[in-house]
Symmetry: C2
Subunit: 127 residues, 2 copies
DNA sequence: TTCAAAATAATAATAATTATTATTTTTAGT
DNA sequence: ACTAAAAATAATAATTATTATTATTTTGAA
């Protein structure tokens, strides 16, 4: 029984912030940005709401570098790029190949439902 | 100036342990296994050596679930599978498509050098 | 308007990982 | 083999990212 989600000012601000930007921020980055408007918001509130939104399938959690989690305002499947120099996470504007999942399913005994692809290298500004 | 790597009993045991298994263990898992032979080995030693070996390009660090890092004894590029139920990480025995990198390069301004692909779903035993 | 359920801020706690430090190993040069 | 500098270690403290706790406030249905 997942607890029904009740409106909150903070959650709306968090989701709006995430939707307004394209840098796939960490919880900390969202927190710093939102503090400007809601000065006494708590970092734990940001974490809690991002988790809630991800669990509800409204946003996506990205595990890019083994350290901090990043978040993506959209759930439409697409590929990402991680700059190994500055740590920025960006979108790759190409159509995901769903042949990957069928191919992998044919080569393994697992029930495969998802494929995450993360490219890495250096971004324009770091080159 | 990367410090030259000097031999150590512990590092050899860590690398051998990793090579002897196919479950892509975490540092903690390697630690527990090695304690049997080297009872007073320190967890920090396992972390330090796994990092060293990964930095030297001898092993691979896998960031699978946003929590604990896993390690792979080989550096040959191949795809992995994460069971969302038990957390196990396994190999997928299919040829990596290098078309992915060229395709992504054509669709982005980044210098892309690597692509990691992680499938997820449920493994045989969890189904 | 009332009231229970959910959310919050503040903070404590936890988990994974890395840093510190005094001591021990390793190894290159005698 | 002997010595000494560099690197590695064990033990442990510290750090970072994240989650749990708790007393208080907000939300929303009756």
């Amino acid at each position: 029984m997942p607890a029904p989600i009740k409106y909150s000012h903070q959650r709306e601000a968090i989701l709006n912030n995430l939707k307004s930007r394209y840098d796939h921020p960490t919880a900390e980055m969202v927190f710093q940005d939102i503090r400007v408007d809601i000065p006494n918001i708590s970092l734990a509130t940001v974490y809690r709401n991002l988790n809630q939104l991800a669990d509800a399938g409204i946003i996506t959690r990205l595990s890019c570098n083994g350290k901090t989690d990043h978040f993506d305002a959209t759930t439409k499947p697409h590929y990402h790029f991680l700059c190994t120099s500055c740590g920025a996470v960006k979108d790759i504007d190409m159509k995901p190949m769903d042949s990957l999942i069928t191919e992998a399913s044919n080569h393994s005994p697992y029930k495969i439902t998802d494929a995450t692809v993360l490219f890495s290298g250096t971004c324009e500004t770091c080159q």
